[in-house]
């Protein structure tokens, strides 16, 4: 007996309403972008400077007490939040204190951190500061730049690679799907106000990689079928290719999700945001490789004459002897 996620032979029509799906994706992208513009991201200190202190104490966290201790110091915007994790011991109560970057200070002032620690210790003698992180505004500005650069470079590199390996229509389809995935991920982070830090950029780039992985597998089959069925309409070829690879698409998504969900539940709160971004990305990425990347391909049309593969042999791995 074998576990089968999808029947052996499927013939779903993925493109009966492809304009609707494309429209829906466009609307979702607009909503995500709107949310980003209106609500903005909840940036971590990596991107806006400041200090976060992670505290641990054996008594339950009372945010009011923390606030009363810190407010007299006059440090401006201070955010205090309790952290929950199923992995914590019963007497392990964790809170995060975030202090904004102090005005006109390029570097970090040790006195600020010390004064907060002393103030908290005076109300909660057993409190421990398990991690203290400070980023000056100068560095955080640069981190934003490199992060944006990383995402743009990654997408650009991929665009060129797929263009070389396939055709420009494929490259464009793949890149629109990527932008779709990145935008929707940013959108959900701004909508749920989850902390957006450097690790999330790594997650975004992985999503880019994963989503591409999926898209490329479908495209590879499309290319193969284009050579095989020279007369078949493009829509049918796309449908056939997606159906043929559907089993693999779902298998891979399920194994990846399985691994990520284990990490989400058991991996601790420090990387939960990061893992959440990836889970979301896997789901969105799987969706987009069918309903965005392939739909764009259908919209743009492709070169149908693949009869002279010699033009592209330099780009093929056909002669790789495995």
């Amino acid at each position: 007996m074998r576990l089968r996620l999808v029947p052996e032979q499927t013939s779903f029509d993925f493109f009966s309403r492809w304009k609707l799906w494309l429209g829906l994706s466009a609307v979702l992208m607009l909503v995500a972008f709107g949310s980003f513009m209106v609500r903005g991201l909840s940036y971590g200190i990596d991107f806006r400077g400041g200090t976060t202190i992670r505290t641990e104490s054996t008594t339950a966290v009372d945010i009011g007490v923390y606030r009363d201790a810190i407010t007299p110091l006059g440090l401006g915007d201070v955010v205090i939040s309790e952290v929950f994790d199923p992995g914590f011991r019963d007497d392990q109560h964790v809170a995060m204190v975030r202090i904004q970057a102090q005005d006109e200070q390029e570097s970090i002032n040790a006195d600020t951190i010390q004064s907060v620690e002393v103030a908290l210790q005076s109300v909660l003698p057993d409190i421990k500061f398990v991690s203290v992180e400070s980023v000056g505004p100068k560095v955080s500005g640069e981190l934003v730049q490199t992060a944006v650069l990383a995402v743009v470079l990654a997408i650009g590199a991929v665009l060129i690679y797929i263009w070389l390996r396939f055709e420009w229509q494929f490259a464009l389809g793949a890149v629109v799907a990527l932008v779709h995935d990145v935008l929707l991920t940013i959108g959900i982070f701004s909508e749920l106000q989850i902390k957006f830090d450097l690790a999330i950029i790594a997650a975004l780039l992985t999503i880019v990689g994963y989503s591409l992985n999926d898209t490329v597998v479908v495209f590879d089959r499309v290319r193969e079928n284009l050579r095989k069925y020279k007369k078949m309409p493009l829509k049918d070829i796309l449908n056939l290719s997606i159906n043929e690879t559907l089993s693999r698409t779902l298998m891979t998504s399920v194994t990846t999700l399985l691994a990520l969900i284990a990490l989400f539940v058991l991996g601790g709160d420090v990387i939960r945001g990061f893992v959440f971004a990836m889970i979301w990305g896997v789901i969105v990425g799987t969706y987009s490789s069918i309903f965005v990347a392939s739909a764009i391909l259908l919209y743009l049309g492709v070169k149908r004459d693949w009869s002279k593969p010699d033009n592209t042999t330099g780009n093929q791995f056909a002669n790789v002897d495995a």
């Binding site: 996620l5 992180e133 950029i201 591409l212």
Partner: protein, 553 residues
């Protein structure tokens, strides 16, 4: 057909074997770590029976490289410091003044009297009383410039000299500034390294980042503040003649002098000469010690030139006070009692034992050429790191088990082959991480977990393809062959694109992001290897033995 040359088979198993062997030390992490520590101590010349026993905990013929744990897993402090390279310009310009004075003085007849004017700290402004002969003065000062050797700046000199009505303005040239910045950062890096080595923490990372930054990571240290106390101090020690003592910082010190506060006496200020008699650069040794009253102090010794200058000065100035200045604060200003010929002495002040020990370390390691400003600091407690490792282990284990079971249920025997490949894959990732001495961070663990999920992708592609080919092809051997052949381009394309993003992440990311890029990138390499070669070899070996008429994938 299904054919594998013998040498390929041997090579594949050999690579897997090497991977497993390299990964092996990580399963006995603490034991190997202790053994490695003990070995390095023994190598440095010391040995005790305990050390020998510790070293013997791990056999010497086995590989002993371990995956470094990042600060987020092990705890420690991380600092990003910016070297204030412009600090150096000021002292460079000050040092030029006597030279310029000496070259202009003999020409007083043509250019008139010369006088130093107040100016920006990185420039010298000299007024001459006969501005009509400015050209001659500029020519003389330009004569002092030295050519600098650099790749781009050949033919340029180290200073620029221009006239501004009756003033001569001397500044460092842009090329010299660049060269000076580079030297300053290199020196600062060296000093920081020496200071941290003096304190003796294990495996610190001290790297230059960009043009003027230094990244310092020290595992196991309690807090970034502690680290800053050691490396943040400039520790520029100077011995200077005292002109006077007062109680205000705002008095006019007079040209060539400056007013400095006392280190431990509130409200006491000393007027001292700007030019030092001897500096900390001329020290050869500094040790914590105690003065005759049993209070903590630091004893020091000068090198030959320093000793001579110090000796001459003490001989000529018996009865005058003499300031010992550390980073623009006067530690003490004792009166010279007698001629001190030997070039050694003792610094007393209100030190604690710890302060005197630290000061001795700083003086021994040398002064930083310029100040450091800290742009980023992170302290991660060891408990948090331990919790993260624990959570990471459990999550990886569960993820791993889940994927193994799922693959077996989906593909049966072939799933089992894929699972063997997956286990080898993880071992090889750890093996390679150990080999290249990479650092495992928390996002790095996530990268491995993601690899677990995605590594099966290549096998899934192949198996699905074999299933398809079984429907049409003639016989199982042909189907397997075709399955591998046709899945190859999709596997390579998919993995190369992901690899591109991993490379970009590695190139421009830093810290934890880089750790993630490394595990993701290595994971892709090993997973393509295991999927294309290892599972295939397993299938071929099974096929050769059984010769099944039909197969079920």
């Amino acid at each position: 057909m299904l054919h594998f040359d013998l040498w390929k088979r041997v090579l594949i198993w050999a690579l897997c074997g090497v991977g497993l062997l390299l990964a092996l030390p990580n399963t006995f992490y603490t034991r190997v770590e202790q053994s490695n520590d003990a070995r390095s101590v023994i190598e440095s010349g010391m040995t005790t029976p305990e050390l020998e026993a510790q070293a013997a905990k791990w056999p010497g013929f086995l590989p002993s490289s371990l995956v470094n744990l990042g600060l987020d897993l092990r705890g420690g402090a991380h600092l990003l410091a910016e070297v204030q390279v412009a600090d150096v310009y000021e002292s460079r310009m000050q040092a030029m003044w006597p030279e310029i004075r000496d070259v202009l003085r003999p020409e007083r007849a043509t250019i008139g009297t010369i006088r130093l004017q107040p100016s920006a700290p990185n420039a010298l402004r000299i007024r001459i009383s006969k501005p009509e002969n400015m050209d001659r003065a500029l020519e003389l000062v330009r004569g002092l410039s030295r050519p600098i050797q650099s790749l781009s700046g050949t033919g340029s000199s180290d200073i620029t000299v221009r006239g501004d009505s009756s003033d001569i303005i001397v500044t460092l040239s842009d090329a010299e500034k660049l060269a000076s910045d580079d030297r300053t950062v290199k020196q600062a890096l060296e000093i920081v390294r020496r200071r941290i080595d003096e304190v003796g923490t294990r495996e610190p990372t001290i790297q230059r980042q960009g043009t003027d930054r230094i990244l310092i990571q020290v595992p196991g240290i309690g807090s970034a503040a502690e680290l800053k106390a050691i490396i943040g101090t400039t520790a520029q020690l100077t011995f200077r003649p005292v002109v006077g003592r007062g109680s205000s910082a705002d008095d006019n010190p007079g040209l060539g002098n400056e007013i400095l506060p006392s280190l431990d006496q509130e409200g006491v200020f000393y007027t001292v000469e700007t030019a030092p008699v001897v500096t900390g650069d001329e020290l050869v040794d500094a040790q914590p010690s105690f003065d005759q009253n049993g209070r903590p102090a630091v004893s020091f010794r000068f090198d030959t030139t320093g000793a001579r200058k110090f000796g001459d000065y003490t001989r000529d100035n018996i009865g005058s006070p003499f300031a010992i200045v550390l980073d623009d604060e006067v530690i003490s200003a004792p009166v010279i009692q007698s001629y001190i010929p030997g070039g050694s002495g003792i610094i007393t002040g209100n030190f604690s034992v710890e302060e005197s020990t630290n000061l001795a370390v700083l003086l021994r390691a040398g002064a930083l050429p310029a100040g450091l400003e800290f742009l980023e600091e992170r302290t991660i407690g060891p408990e948090l790191g331990a919790d993260s490792i624990e959570a990471g282990k459990v999550a990886t284990g569960v993820a791993f088990a889940g994927v193994l079971v799922f693959m077996f249920l989906s593909y049966g025997l072939f799933g089992l082959f894929a699972n063997i490949a997956l286990i080898l894959n993880i071992a090889m990732i750890f093996g390679m991480l150990s080999l290249i001495g990479a650092t495992l961070t928390l996002p790095g663990i996530a990268g491995i977990v993601l690899t677990v999920g995605m590594a099966v992708d290549a096998n899934v592609l192949i198996f699905e393809r074999i299933r398809e080919e079984l429907k049409t092809a003639k016989g199982p051997a042909r189907a397997i062959d075709l399955g591998y052949e046709k899945a190859l381009s999709a596997i390579l394309d998919a993995n190369i694109t992901t690899f591109i993003t991993a490379v970009i992440l590695f190139a421009i990311g830093s810290g934890p992001v880089r750790g993630f890029a490394i595990t993701l990138g290595l994971g892709l390499l090993t997973s393509v290897f295991t999927a294309i070669y290892v599972t295939r070899l397993l299938i071929v070996m099974w096929f050769e033995r059984r010769r099944p008429k039909t197969i079920e994938v």
